[in-house]
């Protein structure tokens, strides 16, 4: 039996701004995304009575966004921060709120504007991170940002299980193949294994193309009850299952947080809520800040045994025509980087059946969000069917 909440809420609106080098403020992008989502759903802004807000790397939007939207009264409003898990979290809390009658239509919005004209990307990020205490040593050691930690995760996987550079590369290549079908993707030029090897190193074993893009943009989704969603413009996308898991055991020996992430615990709980099995998942939209994140997430959810992620992805099964279509819009590696909203947007497009040339079987769509260094995790199971 599914959980009583399974399939009772639906995503009825999706708004995406132009992505990439769009030099607008995060606030303008957020406002535009919410308005696009309302239009997509066939709703008037006066019908919006809930707003959940998540700011990206520049912290460019805040609780006051409701004023920029001209919303005078709301029955649900808050600012949330769970990094890459925020998008999934917002949809979960919105689903619970509409089911409980707190609000009818809740917009969940994310926007970010790290690309500034005439400014280096590192400066945009650096101005928002002021490390203290021992963490102030990390730049001297060479540990700025998340790349070194994920690179060490990949290297530990390689040393422990024999995972190869080519296997990481195949993840990037499969996603680039999907991106060719996505007109909203930033990187659509096909990539060969030679291209992958020729991509400059950042922190070995990561080439630049093992790392997500940096994008400006805004995304909003509107969550309502399953009943209301049926009468709106778009095919409802039902939220069949969800879960979160947050792990913090990085600093002590004896734990292996780089080889197993929180998805290992969130996955079974989300499936249980939907009364579904792993085999019921027909496609994956996985948070892919790095190629390695995809590999470890596939293992954590049990698509293959721990340690076998390399051979699992090697045959291209994640790509077009493969047996486990994954990140079908190109993901954060090739389409655009909107934190957890990147997998959410593609999950909604696919669950609606609006994928066009890149449409994959959509009976049950797994969407994951990941933040920190495999610390914060949110799972969604989306479907065109309520049950």
């Amino acid at each position: 039996m599914p959980h009583p909440m399974s399939g009772k809420a639906a995503i009825c609106g999706l708004g995406m701004t132009e992505m990439g080098r769009v030099y607008k403020s995060a606030t303008d992008l957020a406002v535009e995304a919410v308005r696009l989502a309302l239009k997509d759903a066939g709703l008037e802004i006066s019908q919006l009575d809930g707003l959940l807000i998540n700011a990206g790397s520049t912290r460019g939007i805040n609780l006051g966004l409701h004023k920029d939207l001209g919303l005078k009264e709301l029955s649900v409003l808050t600012f949330m921060q769970g990094f890459g898990s925020s998008a999934g979290q917002m949809i979960q809390y919105a689903a619970m709120a509409v089911e409980n009658g707190m609000a009818d239509y809740i917009a969940c919005v994310f926007a970010d504007d790290p690309l500034k004209q005439g400014k280096r990307i590192g400066d945009s990020y650096a101005s928002h991170s002021r490390p203290e205490a021992m963490a102030s040593l990390y730049p001297i050691y060479g540990f700025a940002g998340a790349i070194p930690m994920y690179a060490m995760g990949a290297q530990r996987h390689m040393d422990a299980y024999g995972t190869t550079q080519e296997q990481l590369g195949q993840i990037a290549i499969s996603q680039r193949q999907w991106a060719a079908f996505n007109e909203n993707a930033t990187m659509r030029k096909p990539m060969t294994m030679d291209d992958y090897h020729a991509s400059p190193w950042v922190v070995e074993p990561f080439h630049i193309v093992d790392c997500c893009l940096v994008s400006n943009g805004g995304v909003a989704v509107i969550v309502t009850s399953a009943e209301r969603a049926k009468d709106l413009k778009q095919p409802p996308v039902y939220v069949r299952g969800w879960a979160q898991q947050h792990n913090h055991d990085v600093g002590y020996a004896g734990h292996d947080p780089l080889l197993e992430g929180p998805g290992a615990k969130a996955g079974p709980r989300a499936l249980s809520m939907a009364d579904a099995k792993l085999e019921d998942i027909t496609q994956c939209q996985l948070y892919d800040c790095y190629t390695y994140t995809v590999l470890v997430t596939l293992e954590d959810y049990g698509f293959c045994a721990k340690g076998e992620g390399g051979p699992f992805v090697e045959d291209g099964k994640l790509g077009p025509g493969g047996s486990l279509p994954t990140n079908t819009g190109g993901g954060e590696l090739s389409s655009f980087y909107m934190w957890g909203m990147t997998p959410v947007t593609e999950g909604v497009i696919q669950a609606r059946g609006h994928g066009g040339d890149r449409q994959a079987p959509n009976d049950l769509v797994l969407v994951t969000g990941n933040g920190g260094v495999l610390n914060y995790h949110a799972t969604l199971l989306l479907s065109p069917q309520a049950a």
């Binding site: 990949a154 070995e204 020996a253």
Partner: protein, 134 residues
């Protein structure tokens, strides 16, 4: 950038770590109740929750939990020494440190390798704990 800025100004909470480094010691924090070690600054024990924390000198021995190679310099210390070996070291006392491995061929480093603490002295007298093959 002046070399004096390489080691950040120690705070009250981190000064013993840097003092220890200048004396060639890997000085960390330890719970006086259950003897669990912590990477500073901790205010309570990760194992028993006690707030009775003292500073103590670790053995300096450890093994490689993982490693990677920094290929782009963004700090004066990185210049002329790429690839710089980044590592997480599990020290014998049970703490995982983010640090560098020096005096090693980057391609020779493997998970599980034995390493020992070493100390890199900057022109201004600041000292940074690092590790080298044991």
């Amino acid at each position: 950038m002046s070399e004096q800025s390489w080691i950040p100004e120690p705070s009250e909470k981190t000064a013993p770590f840097f003092d220890g480094a200048r004396q060639g010691k890997l000085r960390l924090q330890k719970c006086t109740d259950c003897s669990t070690w912590g990477y500073p600054p901790v205010s309570s024990c990760s194992h028993c929750g006690s707030d009775q924390i003292e500073w103590a000198d670790a053995s300096g021995h450890g093994t490689v939990y993982s490693h990677a190679r920094l290929m782009r310099a963004y700090h004066p210390r990185h210049q002329d020494r790429l690839p710089l070996i980044l590592a997480q070291i599990d020290i014998a006392e049970g703490v995982r440190l983010m640090t560098n491995i020096i005096d090693a061929e980057p391609s020779d480093v493997r998970v599980g390798d034995a390493v020992v603490a070493a100390f890199e002295t900057f022109p201004d007298g600041g000292v940074l704990p690092v590790f080298k093959p044991a």
